[in-house]
Amino acid sequence: MRRLIPHPGLSVLLAVVWLLLANTLSFGALLIGILIGIVLPIFTAPFWPRRPQVRFRYAIPFVALVLWDIVMANFQVAAIILFRRDSNLKAAWLPIPLDLDTPEAITVLAGTISLTPGTVSVDVSACGKYLLVHALDAADPGAEIARIKARYEARLKKVFI
C-alpha cells in the first residue's frame, strides 16, 4: 500500500485539482483524476523521501488565519505605497531563528511570510536554523520577529509533527 500510494494527501489533492480543472463532476473526469492521483505521486516519490505528517485539525484554522492576514496585508501595503514618504520608510533585514525542523514546515512558513504584511522571505541559512526576511516597514525589528514567531511559527509547529 505504501508503495502504491506513497502520499495519500498528495493523491487526493491532485484528483481534486484535476476535477476543478475539468470543471465537471462526470465519471470520466473522476476516473482520470484518480489515475493522475495514483500515477504522479509514484513518479515523484523520490523527491519526497519522508512523508510530512499534517494535522488537519490545526492546518485548517491556520489557512483561515493566513487568508485573513493576506487581505489585511493588502490594505497595509497599499497604505504604505500610497501615503508613506520614502524617508519615513524603516526597511529592515530580519534574521528569524527557526524552531521548525522539517523542510516542508519551513517552506510553508517562508511562503506565509512572503504573502503577509510587509515581509518577504529571502533566504534560509546553510545550517537551516535561520530564515532571512526583508521587512518593508519595521520600526522595531525585534518585535516583528517575535510577532512572526508567535503568530505563524507556533501554529505551524502544531500543524507539522
Binding site: V17, N74, V77, A91, D123
Partner: protein, 140 residues
C-alpha cells in the same frame, strides 16, 4: 423596486473596481519604491487581493447571470498563492548575489547591507546546505 440582475451587476462591478484598484496600487508601488527589495513588496502582496477581487467577480458573475459554478477561479488563486512567494524569493536571491558581487548598478536595500547569518555558515544562496540540517534533509 430593484431588479436582482441590477444587484448582481452592481456587486460584480464593485469587485472588479476594487481588484483593479489594488492591482494599480501594487504596480504603482513597483515604480515608486526606492530600491529593488522594497519594490518587491508591492507586486507580491497588493496584487494578490487585486487578482482575488477580479476572480471573485468572475465567480459571482457566472453564478448570478448564468447560474453555473465555475471552479477555475479557485484554481487560479491557489496557483497564485503558491507561485507568488517563489518568484519573489528568486528575485530576492538575485539581490543577495548582486550585493555580494558588488556589481555596478546593484543598489543596496534601504535596510542596509544583508546581515551575516547568525548561525554557523552563510545563507544558503551563497553556500550549499550542511548535511543533517532540515534544508539538506530532502536530498538524502
Amino acid at each position: 423596486m430593484i431588479e436582482p440582475g441590477f444587484l448582481a451587476e452592481l456587486f460584480t462591478s464593485l469587485l472588479i473596481v476594487l481588484g483593479a484598484g489594488f492591482a494599480l496600487v501594487g504596480s504603482w508601488g513597483l515604480v515608486r519604491m526606492p530600491t529593488l527589495m522594497e519594490r518587491l513588496h508591492g507586486p507580491t502582496k497588493a496584487t494578490t487581493l487585486g487578482l482575488g477581487g477580479i476572480l471573485l467577480a468572475s465567480v459571482l458573475f457566472f453564478q448570478l447571470t448564468q447560474e453555473v459554478w465555475s471552479a477555475h477561479e479557485l484554481l487560479v488563486s491557489i496557483f497564485l498563492f503558491i507561485t507568488a512567494p517563489i518568484s519573489a524569493n528568486m528575485v530576492a536571491k538575485v539581490h543577495l548575489h548582486e550585493e555580494r558581487l558588488n556589481r555596478s548598478g546593484s543598489v543596496q536595500s534601504r535596510a542596509g547591507k544583508v546581515p551575516r547569518s547568525p548561525g554557523k555558515g552563510d545563507w544558503a544562496t551563497y553556500e550549499a546546505p550542511y548535511r543533517d540540517t532540515p534544508v539538506a534533509m530532502s536530498e538524502e
